[in-house]
Structures are given as C-alpha cells and as structure tokens.
Symmetry: C2
Subunit: 410 residues, 2 copies
C-alpha cells in the first residue's frame, strides 16, 4: 500500500477561458492566463492510496462517497496517469529492474476543499489539479509539470493552470489530439510577490448557468465571440505576459478589467443571454473605478475580475490592500462576527472594518458613487496573494486511515 497526500491551489484567470473547440478533450477556443492564489486560504487536498488488497477504486469527496465510475472526467485522469505508470513499469521490467505494479492496484481517493464548494470559487480547478498532481506523485511519473497539466486539463479545463504557482498561461494549442494544449508558468510567485487579491464572496439567490453549458452556448450563438477569440484574446495574451514580466500593474489592471468585462459581454450576447454579474457585482465594479479614477497620481490602484458567478476578485499591490479592504468593508456591511466575515491572514488592517474608508489622498473621491449596500450583499471577504503551486504533504496529513478509509465522513 502506497499513500500520497497533496494540496493544490485555486487560480483566478485575468485573461478568461470561455469556449471549447473540443468538448471531449477539453480543448479551448482561446488561450488564457491566471494568477495562482495562496493555499493558506483556499486549497483542495487529496489523499490517494493504492493497494493490491483493495477491492475496487473508491472516491470520497468532502466526506461523501461517490461512484468513481460515473465521473467521466476524473476517469480520464486515472486512465492517462495509469497508462504512463504502466509504460514505466514495462520499461523497468524490460531493464530487469522491476518496480511495484501500482498501475494495476485499485485506489482509494479522498478529497476535501477547505472552502465551501458552493461558493463558486473555482473548486473544480483546484480539485482536479490536486487529484492529478497526487496521482503523478503516487505513480512517481517522470514527466514535466506541463505534461501533468495536460492530463489535468482533461479533468477540468482550468485545472491545468493550478499545477503551477505564480502566473500561468494555458496555451490553447493547435493540434487535434490536444497534445500541445497545456499550462506553462510565465513567472513564479517570487517574481511579483507584491501582488495580492481580495475575494469578495457575493450572495446570489439565483443559480447561474453552469460554465460547461454556458460557454458552448456562447460559441454557438454570440456573433461577437469570433472577434474575441480570433483577434482580441491573442493580442491580450501578449500584453498580459509582458505586463507580468515587467511587473507593470497599470497594464495588468486595465487588461484584467477589460477582459473580465468582455467575457461577461459575450455572455450577454449569447442567446438566450447568460448573466453572472448581479447588482452587487456591478456596485463593486463602480466602486473600484471610482477608486482608480481619483487616484492622486492618476494610476490604477486595483483591478476587479469575475468568473462565471457574482463573486469579485480584486487584484492590487500589497500597499493598496488596506484601503481596498476598508472601502469594501464600508460599502458592503456585514452583521457577522468580524473574524467570520473577513479572513485577514496578513493583518492588512488594524482598526475596525469599514472605518476610515475614504482612501487617503483621493481628494475627489465621490462617497456617493454607490449607496452603502444592504447588509450581507457580500457574505465573506478573503485576503490572499499570489503563491506557489501544488504541495506534497507528510504522511500524517493523510485524509485516509491506515485501513484506507476516510478519517472524516460528512
């Protein structure tokens, strides 16, 4: 019996992935680029153990057993990693130095997120990345991280970007078999450690369109989408890579906001239209534009981005974070206990949340740019930062007991 436990991070795209040219292999219609966020706040954790004594493959997600054979995308990841392991075993065998035939053993998989799956915080990306990374460690696969990402891509497209820390591009590739569609690291987290993020979890009664269904509807019906795919995103990818390499927050911020808005624009141009932003999302956008517009030196100080849901992720240099947190805290009040509402791991603010919210030196800041929103419009604030890729944990962090069953069940 061999057991490995790993965690993988969440990534939030600044150039958005929306649309597949191959839904089976999960090949995108455009490249995308993301920032990997700290696992201290958000991560998926997976333990996999392989043992010839096991009866069959079993899977527990957040403490609930699921039928692993019914999860086609996960199945693809098992098939791919086992095939590589099998080739390694055959080669070792042929060379007279046989290795353990792990590819033939049933596995037990136990996976948990340290955040609610339902919060719409890209849990499928971190979850599939953790699964595939753990499989690659379990099987001791001698392949590059980009090759691991190629496999994770087949589990959940954006999962491929969670295989690296820092700034990560998913190059769309051109080949029909998807062999050139994988993630590459543009720069590690150490290149621009100053970049931080504030996640604003936005309450929404409405259940949005799933991104899997939504993106194909956009491809099929939006007359604006081709222009985005063929002309706009390729230029933006170049611009964003340069912005990251130059640590140029001005270009990074403008491209991030423009690309988020354009992604939601093509959703609106879909027929029937797809809406992910709600009035709270809109209010955050207007607040950030006012904050930027009144910046004393005329420079952008923050950038918002929204995935397929109403939650905002605000990227900003560390030095602006206290102001941004106070702004959000003021206009989006909560009646929760402060510690429950606001995850403040870097002690970004010392005073009370929402106090002294007027940004320093912003002489022209219009306090009435938006009204103070109803209590609870934003349900949680998480302060995080650019950080590293998947981590291998020690054996005592295992989610499985020695008998191969979960330590915790829901």
């Amino acid at each position: 019996m061999k057991t490995v436990t790993c965690t993988a991070p969440v990534n939030i795209a600044v150039i958005k992935y929306w649309g597949k040219r191959d839904t089976e292999l999960i090949l995108p219609t455009n490249s995308s680029l993301s920032v990997t966020l700290s696992q201290d706040i958000l991560h998926s954790k997976t333990t996999i153990s392989a043992a010839k004594e096991y009866d069959h493959d079993r899977l527990w997600l957040n403490g609930i057993e699921e039928d692993i054979t019914k999860n086609k995308r996960m199945h693809n990841c098992f098939r791919e990693t086992r095939a590589i392991r099998q080739a390694m075993e055959a080669k070792a065998e042929a060379e007279g130095k046989p290795i353990e035939p792990l590819s033939t053993y049933p596995v037990h998989v136990c996976s948990e997120n340290n955040f609610p799956t339902a919060a719409g915080l890209a849990s499928s990306a971190s979850g599939l990345a953790a699964l595939v990374y753990t499989l690659s460690q379990l099987f001791e696969l001698t392949i590059s991280t980009s090759e691991v990402s190629r496999i994770a891509r087949q589990g959940s497209g954006s999962a491929c970007r969670s295989l690296f820390g820092g700034f990560v591009a998913w190059e769309m590739g051109e080949k029909e078999d998807g062999s050139d569609s994988y993630a590459v690291q543009i720069a590690p987290e150490t290149h621009w450690p100053d970049l931080q993020a504030l996640i604003c979890v936005v309450s929404d009664a409405k259940k949005g369109t799933s991104s899997t269904a939504g993106m194909q509807s956009t491809i099929k019906t939006s007359l604006l989408m081709n222009e985005r795919i063929n002309n706009i995103v390729p230029a933006r990818m170049e611009g964003m890579k340069k912005a990251v390499l130059d640590k140029d927050f001005q270009s990074f911020a403008e491209l991030t906001m423009r690309d988020s808005n354009q992604f939601h624009a093509v959703c609106l141009d879909t027929y029937p239209p797809i809406f992910y932003l709600n009035d709270t999302s809109r209010a955050i956008i207007q607040l950030i534009h006012e904050y930027n517009a009144t910046s004393p030196d005329g420079k952008l100080k923050a950038a918002y981005t929204y995935d397929a849901g109403p939650n905002a992720v605000i990227y900003a240099p560390k030095e602006n974070m206290a102001e941004i947190i106070q702004l959000i805290g003021h206009y989006f009040p909560s009646n929760k206990e402060p510690a429950e509402f606001f995850a403040n791991p870097y002690n970004a603010i010392s005073g009370k949340l929402g106090e002294d919210f007027l940004p320093k030196d912003h002489a022209k800041f219009n306090q009435n740019v938006i009204p103070v929103q109803p209590v609870g419009s934003v349900s949680r604030l998480l302060h995080t930062k650019v950080d590293d890729g998947p981590r291998v944990l020690s054996q005592d962090e295992s989610l499985l007991k020695e008998d191969g069953l979960p330590k915790r069940l829901a």
Copy 2:
C-alpha cells in the same frame, strides 16, 4: 400671430442606435429601426406661436422657462427650419405673391410630456420630434416627412424616427454633410396593428450614464463594437425589415432580443463599463425566456428590449398580452392602487393583476424561474401598441394663451 399645436410619439428601437460618427451633425455609426408607440399613452405636445410683436424667442419645458439660446441642439432645429421658410418667403416674394415673413418673427415655444421626463422613456426623441414637426407645420414647409426627420435628427438622433408612425428605419447614410441620414417608414401602423407593447418602468436608485456620453465611450473603447457596426447590424437591418413586412413575429422577436442584448453587451465591453440593466431587468429577461421556452407550439410569444436604462419594453402580438401582463403583475408586485400602477387602456385583463399568472397551455412553465420580486421593483406598467406619427391638434388644444404665455406653469 400664428400658433400651431402638435403631438409626437415615443419610439422604441428594435435595432439599436448606439454611436455617432459625427457628434455635431448627429450622424450614427449604424442604421436603426424602431416601432412608434401610441400617443394615447405617451407623447410630447408642443405649441409654437410666432408673432412679430414678441420680443425674443422664449421656451417653456414642462411649465418651466428655459433659456432657448443655451440649447444648442434645439437651436439647430430652429436655424434649419427658419432657413427653409426664408427661402420659401424669398421665392414667393420673387414671384410677386409674398407670404408672411414668419421666419423673421420671434417664437414662443411651450412643450410638455404626458409622462415624467425622468422615467427614462425616450422623452428627448418625442420632444424634439414634436418641436420640429410643429415648426414644419407653423412654417408650412413644403418638404417631405423624411426631410423633416433629417432636421429632427440634429436635435436628438432618435427623434428622427418619431416623425413617422408604424415601423421606421433611420438610414445612417454615408455623406459627410448628413443629407442622406434620415428616417423612412418601412410600414405604417395599419400594416401590423396586432403588435402591442408593455412598458415596465423599473425603479433604479442609480443614475445611469447619459446615452450621449456613453455611446461615444463605447465607440472609443469597445473592441467588439466594430464587428457590430460593420457586419452584424447591416445584416440585422435587412432581417428586421423583412420580418416587419412579413409580419413575422418569430424573426422580429428573436432579432429584437438579440439586438437589445448585444447593445448592452457592447456597453459592458466599454471601458470603464456602462451598465443599464439591473437585477429587475435581468429577472424580466429570464421570465420572458421561460415564457417563450415553454410555449406549447414552440413559438416565441414575446420579446423584450431595453434602451439606455433599466425599463423593459415587451413587444407581443395582442393575443398574448393578457398572459404577459398577468405574468409581470405576479412576479413584480406593486402596493400602488391598481389604476395607478397599470395603465390598461385596451382592457387587456378583466380580473385582478397577477392572478392566474400561469400561462395557459405552458405545461412545463417553471414557476421558480425567478422569485417573486420585492414590491415596487417595477413601478409602473403601461400597455400600448404600434400607432401613428405626429398629429396636428386644434387651436383649443394650445398650450399658450392668446397673449403668447403658457396656460400652465410648474
């Protein structure tokens, strides 16, 4: 002293005007097409009197005197109509049959809307159309209605479409001087009298971006806008003209909804983004799509469209209106007196508003498509229909007394 009183209707575009290629002459970047709505419910009324005894040009808007010299766009309309009158007077003089030199007389202008200007119901279009139409009647201009519309265009772009009843195209034209940019009637109201509309006035705390500023910002910053202007709208104009001529509600409805959504999509792709739809607008869109999706014969039964604000205009054949009114009445409750909330001139419903809201024969209609919205989310419902163009009223409808001063002041 000569006095003329006219009314002009509101028009609501189904292919949207957004963007000027010449802001001075008000020349659009694309053609547009609208439906003229009944003046029984919504109109602008203007009385103009010309008298050589008057001291100077004076203007009263909704009972408040304004400085006519400060209103550049209105000034353009006076200049153009007076110039044509002057040429007529010169010609008559030359022919030895002089006419009254009205072009040299000061005028008193009194104009009112029978709906609140602030409601965002295209009051500038009906207002400028009423002004220019009244001037053309006052001066007895021997020009075509399209030529009158060319003048109104210089007052407010979409005003040119309010010079005709029925279905009206504003052909963008190509010439630099704007001489080929005017409205033409595609079909009169009698061609398709069955087409009705329900205006849902949506409450919104937020003051939206003015359309004048907004459209130029879109032209300048949206990377999707060229595709719309150059390729999408020209094809849609042809499709929409055909749909109107064929009285083909299916094509009319789909094009109307798609074009409304695309207009709001390019607003969202503007930098900074422009938002006109709010959560109430979104909810109406979702409700109409559910209503259409569950239609027993699979046909579209209603189409929404939104201008530069959150108000919905729902177009539908007369036979569907009772169902639509009950649907909206149910999901968007009001605590106003029924008669104050709902303008019901055609007695479309007999029972209580919001009762029996489930559309007949829509077996699969999902009642939970949206929750019942907070009371007052929609502040008013107006049932109206396609109808005629500007009307000349009798002298006793004048807004001015015999002394040339307003009968009513605010």
